[in-house]
């Protein structure tokens, strides 16, 4: 039973059985149903009218103006039409209108104008002009609406000053107190205004007002009282990480269901509506009919919502008007066929889809070219409710739910910064610093609701989330409650659930004689050799079955690789083009870029930025070489480019490859291998690095092995080096130390022995310990547990 119920019943009983002359006005629309139920069950007879404050004032203003109020769904459509007419040059009138309508409504609701801007001396001329423009826009919209026999309640709110509360009207609760609403509520006789007592700590329960914004001040100023309490039933919790909310809700609901007595209810107050879908899908829906989800779900995230958006986009692409009537009919058909099979929220979403598309069909002529944008806006804003039983043991409700009814257990979450109390303005267009009254009013209203909820519950847990990644921290309001009631904030961290490792046999390729022969006869490149040594399973799929890796690579990485190939081609032509080409290299680059054979690369969307990057890198190298006088890339040093070599590894396995450039450097013939990357650590050959020992001990082939192979198989080479084209510093080379190349024969023998061992085994198995394994694109085949690393990192 609510705090005011006895008094209300006493009031109405005098007129029993005909109570129809009375009107009960609830500040919050969520209180309407319980009040109606209370009167019906306690007195009965001809019931009074019970409505919320918004509909009450809308009705009063409609009587005064003799105009029709705009419905919630249609107001944005009317405003788009007005806005598009008034500002024909506006590029996106629908989007602009959608962000301006709440703003001008709020300006009107709070009577914000030139005369009540705080710190007006800091308002710039531009800000004044903008404010004038919005006020003028609001006025223009009112006039425009009245010509078509409509009005918007928020814009006409000042008419409340001329309206007096009737004698047979009872008001329950306080709404958000704007200046005009305050004046109206002050006109209500005290005995006909029932305000639920908000809960306050013992030290704050004196008769005086508090020295800061507070629900107590608000309640006292309207003749209300407060409920002092030591907060015995309060528990304050801080959760680590947003997903912990799911654990807490699941734990609370299941333990409540086990312990509850017959009529007990657990009220869950969701303070952040954006979490509804997550909590519903991952926790609450599992409890079936025991949960009544009385909060709003976003329509756009449902299958029906997404399909409707898809229809709109499809029609937009084909230049046609979306056929909303057909979509509504299809949804209705789907609903009638599947009502028994679909879960509740799917049915409700389909019903919402029918109503939205019918509305859009009705408006399609009037909105004309703005229809598509307007449709997207209304779909994004549309919310719907899953209807359930008010007697269900678990009631999930929004923050506005102050019905006055008592409950045994409550859970309020998440009490995070910016969620409770809310920011009165998050922009755009007006700075809250200039309207401090707005912040005070919003805070006091929310403080009142919060404390009225606290007063209704026997035991309430209030949880906040600490999640640095998602920028969530407990609200200062949690600290306020902790200090006021002298309660500790308990930190709870739920242990993450990790599935046990599945002990299943990993896939492997059986090796028969036929496959052995193919592997023995295979002509290896450095790349395929590295693969078979690192992971025989990967080698088999990529080089024997020639499977294409799945399209997993990031676009950037893919384009970068193609750009690298182009730069290699350019360097080849540069070195074979004669001396005159060096200083005119940009022309050569452009010619090659514009050539027919480069058409595919040239046509890649967004390639220009990669091309510009390559030009900048080459220019840097060119300038550095010009400055230092030491020419290596832009040099007349090439003996051969893309020279093919071949040989056998320790007389057993065929190997082949092409060197980027054989160059004459300081009188010696050397090989240069260009890498289109920065100088990564894995290429560094430190004094402690021994390619042979590392291979023998760890089975890992160091990238420098490529240079050793070049030097081993290309006759007459006196040296080998990598050249890193993307290296930011001027130190772009890594030179193979002579002592490494001296061990080439031993390295070849070690490679041969490893290949022998791989080929003589019974199967080609995946090698999960390989350093490349985490980045491999064939993991779907080998069944590696920690599936795919995100990326290799950008060059």
């Amino acid at each position: 039973m609510s705090q005011f119920s006895d008094k209300l019943i006493e009031f109405l009983s005098n007129d029993y059985p005909d109570l129809s002359a009375w009107t009960i006005i609830c500040a919050n629309n969520r209180a309407v149903d319980p009040v109606q139920y209370l009167i019906h069950s306690e007195i009965g007879g001809l019931l009074p009218r019970v409505e919320d404050f918004n509909s009450y004032i809308t009705k009063k203003i409609a009587e005064r103006l003799n105009l029709q109020p705009l419905s919630d769904d249609e107001r944005i459509f009317y405003f788009i039409r007005f806005f598009a007419d008034k500002y024909p040059d506006e590029q996106y009138p629908a989007r602009q209108a959608a962000s301006l309508l709440p703003l001008i409504s709020k300006l009107a609701k709070y009577n914000i104008g030139r005369n009540n801007i705080f710190g007006a001396e800091r308002f710039t001329e531009e800000e004044w002009n903008r404010l004038e423009q919005y006020l003028e826009m609001a006025h223009g919209f009112r006039v425009w609406l009245s010509k078509i026999n409509f009005f918007l309640t928020e814009l006409e709110i000042n008419l409340l000053d001329g309206i007096a509360p009737g004698e047979k009207e009872i008001f329950i609760g306080l709404p958000e107190i704007t200046p005009v609403i305050e004046r109206f509520y002050r006109k209500i006789e005290k005995e006909r205004l029932f305000i639920d007592k908000p809960l306050f700590g013992p030290e704050l329960s004196g008769p005086d007002k508090l020295p800061f914004d507070s629900a107590k001040n608000l309640a006292l100023s309207f003749g209300g009282k407060i409920k002092p309490s030591a907060g015995a039933g309060l528990e304050l919790i801080s959760l680590s990480g947003l997903p912990a909310l799911i654990d807490l809700v699941t734990l609370e609901v299941s333990s409540f269901l086990k312990q509850r007595s017959e009529r007990d209810q657990l009220m869950i107050f969701l303070l952040d509506e954006s979490l509804t879908t997550m909590l519903w899908n991952r926790s609450l829906r599992l409890f079936g009919n025991k949960v009544n989800l009385a909060v709003w779900l976003p329509f756009s995230t449902t299958a029906a919502g997404r399909r409707l958006l898809n229809e709109i986009e499809k029609a937009q692409m084909s230049g046609l008007m979306p056929d909303f009537k057909r979509y509504a009919a299809n949804c209705a058909l789907e609903l009638s066929k599947n009502r028994e099979n679909y879960v509740r929220e799917e049915c409700e979403a389909l019903e919402a889809a029918v109503s939205v598309s019918t509305l859009l069909d009705d408006w399609k002529e009037r909105l004309g070219c703005h229809l598509t944008e307007a449709a997207k806006i209304i779909i994004e804003a549309k919310k719907f409710r899953v209807t359930g039983s008010r007697s269900a043991p678990i009631q999930v409700v929004g923050f506005g739910h102050v019905s006055g009814e008592k409950f045994s257990r409550g859970l309020m979450l998440p009490l995070d910064s910016g969620i409770m109390p809310t920011q009165p303005f998050e922009g755009p267009f007006i700075n809250p610093v200039h309207v401090p009254q707005l912040r005070k009013n919003v805070f006091e209203y929310e403080d009142l609701i919060f404390r009225q909820i606290l007063a209704q519950g026997d035991r309430i847990k209030i949880a906040a989330v600490t999640d640095t990644i998602r920028e969530r921290t407990p609200s200062y309001y949690l600290s306020l409650l902790a200090q006021e009631f002298g309660k500790p904030v308990t930190t709870i961290a739920f242990k993450e659930y990790l599935p046990e490792k599945q002990i299943t046999k990993k896939p492997a390729i059986p090796l028969d004689d036929n496959l052995r022969a193919r592997l023995k006869d295979f002509t290896y490149s450095f790349s395929s050799l590295t693969k078979i040594l690192a992971c025989p399973f990967l080698f088999y799929h990529q080089h024997i079955l020639k499977l294409e890796p799945p399209s997993f690579m990031h676009d950037d990485e893919k384009i970068n690789m193609q750009m690298g190939n182009f730069v290699h081609k350019f360097l080849q032509q540069l070195s074979t083009g004669g001396k005159k080409k060096f200083d005119d290299w940009e022309k050569l680059f452009t010619e090659l870029w514009e050539s027919n054979e480069n058409a595919e690369l040239r046509n890649i969307d967004g390639i220009n930025i990669y091309k510009l990057n390559a030009l900048i890198l080459l220019k840097e190298i060119y300038d550095d070489e010009l400055e230092s006088g030491r020419r290596l890339v832009f040099a007349d040093n090439a003996i051969a480019c893309e020279e093919k070599f071949s040989g056998t590894i320790a007389g057993s396995y065929k190997i082949t490859g092409r060197s980027d450039r054989l160059a004459k450097i300081a009188g010696r013939t050397e090989v240069i291998d260009f890498k289109y990357s920065t100088k990564k650590d894995k290429f560094i050959i430190s004094t402690r690095t021994n390619v042979l020992t590392r291979f023998q001990e760890k089975g890992v082939l160091h990238p420098a092995a490529q240079l050793i192979i070049y030097q081993h198989f290309i006759a007459g080479l006196a040296g080998a080096r990598f050249y890193f084209l993307k290296e930011a510093s001027k130190d772009r080379e890594i030179i193979l130390p002579p002592e490494q190349s001296a061990e080439a024969a031993e390295l070849m023998m070690a490679i041969k022995e490893r290949l022998d061992a791989i080929i003589s085994a019974n199967e080609l198995a995946p090698e999960y310990n390989s350093s490349e394994c985490a980045f491999c694109r064939f993991q779907a085949l080998c069944g590696r547990e920690a599936y795919y690393m995100a990326a290799r990192g950008n060059d």
Binding site: Y92, R95, E126, E127, R130, G201, E203, L204, L210, P211, F212, D213, S417, P421, F425, E426, G427, P428, F429, I430, N431, P432, V433, R439, T466, T468, E471, T473, P474, S475, Y476, Y477, S479, L480, A482, Q483, E484, N608, I609, L612
Partner: protein, 121 residues
């Protein structure tokens, strides 16, 4: 108000100092305070530290502590990026997530700028 530049290495107490500065200002009734940090983590840290600092003032009467919490709640803790975003937002110049049409127009503009720069090169 006195300006102060504090340069120190990581972990040496810059955030603690900033927290103390904020505390001192709300203690004397300062209004419209904004505390900016470079990272979200530091912002969150500062928010909780100031609450801890107020809670630790056990000698202070409860009403004063609650008043300080209310004032601390009004301090604009944010990263520098987010502060400027809000500043622009309040002035009506906030960048919005470009929709498809805007993206096409932006791409066209970038391409045009790129070509004009290329022509100059």
């Amino acid at each position: 108000m006195q300006s102060m530049l504090l340069k120190a290495s990581a972990g040496s107490g810059k955030t603690t100092r900033l927290t103390n500065e904020v505390f001192d200002r709300i203690f004397i009734g300062g209004k419209f305070i904004t505390a900016l940090t470079f990272t979200r983590a530091a912002t969150a840290e500062m928010r909780s530290r100031i609450m801890e600092k107020i809670a630790a003032e056990k000698e202070m009467p409860l009403l004063d502590r609650l008043r300080l919490i209310m004032e601390a709640g009004r301090v604009g803790y944010s990263t520098i990026d987010s502060f400027f975003y809000r500043l622009f937002a309040a002035s009506g110049f906030a960048p919005k997530m470009a929709d498809e049409k805007a993206q096409i127009e932006l791409s066209g503009e970038i391409e045009r700028l790129f070509r004009s720069r290329r022509a100059k090169l």
